[in-house]
């Protein structure tokens, strides 16, 4: 078998596994943890989540994002440039790739640094923590919103080829 087939097969496999972990944890944060933390704060049990669950979930979340992006780049291989320049029939996939890239940026530039302040891993005043909470929340919600078209454009098979006339 050609070398390039192995690279594509392995990177596609890794891309899907890491992507499921990344977006799965993103949905966990937004659909489960935000509401659970609000209720837990009300009855004084929030520490269990913020001390033991959130840091571990964030660890796998942010590194799964990196692995997903790198495996995706490896999977694109020679089509990488055409994809990001939205040309030569790679336009729809390129939209998905751009959305995924923006989401990776949100994870490492907006969500993680602010979560470190919220969880007390870096020093911050109460006012800074409140701002950090709002920025991290909105960046996380933005990623949920972006994940919807991202998956539509990336998880394209024959149905999408018919849809886009490719």
């Amino acid at each position: 078998m050609e070398h390039v087939d192995w690279v594509a097969a392995l990177s596609r496999w890794v891309h899907f596994m890491a992507g499921i972990m990344w977006i799965g944890l993103l949905y966990y944060f937004n659909f489960v943890q935000v509401a659970a933390l609000k209720n837990a704060t009300a009855d004084g049990t929030a520490a269990g989540i913020s001390k033991h669950v959130a840091p571990r979930a964030l660890l796998f979340f942010r590194w799964a994002a990196v692995v997903t992006w790198l495996a995706g780049a490896a999977l694109l291989g020679p089509l990488f440039t055409d994809t990001f320049l939205l040309r030569n029939g790679m336009g729809p996939m390129g939209i998905g790739a751009w959305l995924g890239t923006i989401m990776l940026f949100n994870v490492w530039v907006l969500i993680w640094p602010n979560q470190k302040k919220i969880l007390g891993l870096t020093p911050a005043s109460d006012a800074e923590k409140n701002t950090a909470r709002r920025v991290a929340f909105l960046a996380s919600r933005t990623n949920v919103m972006l994940s919807i078209p991202m998956l539509f454009f990336m998880a394209g098979g024959w149905s999408h080829r018919a849809l886009f006339g490719l």
Partner: protein, 31 residues
């Protein structure tokens, strides 16, 4: 106006609307 991202339904509906907008863009403007 309330930020739609403050609610889960608002977030999901925003994502679906964005999908439709990008689909129309891809269908009409991408080669």
């Amino acid at each position: 106006m309330k930020n739609p991202l403050d609610s889960l339904w608002g977030t999901v509906i925003s994502g679906v609307v964005l999908t439709v907008v990008l689909y129309v863009f891809a269908r009409n403007f991408l080669g």
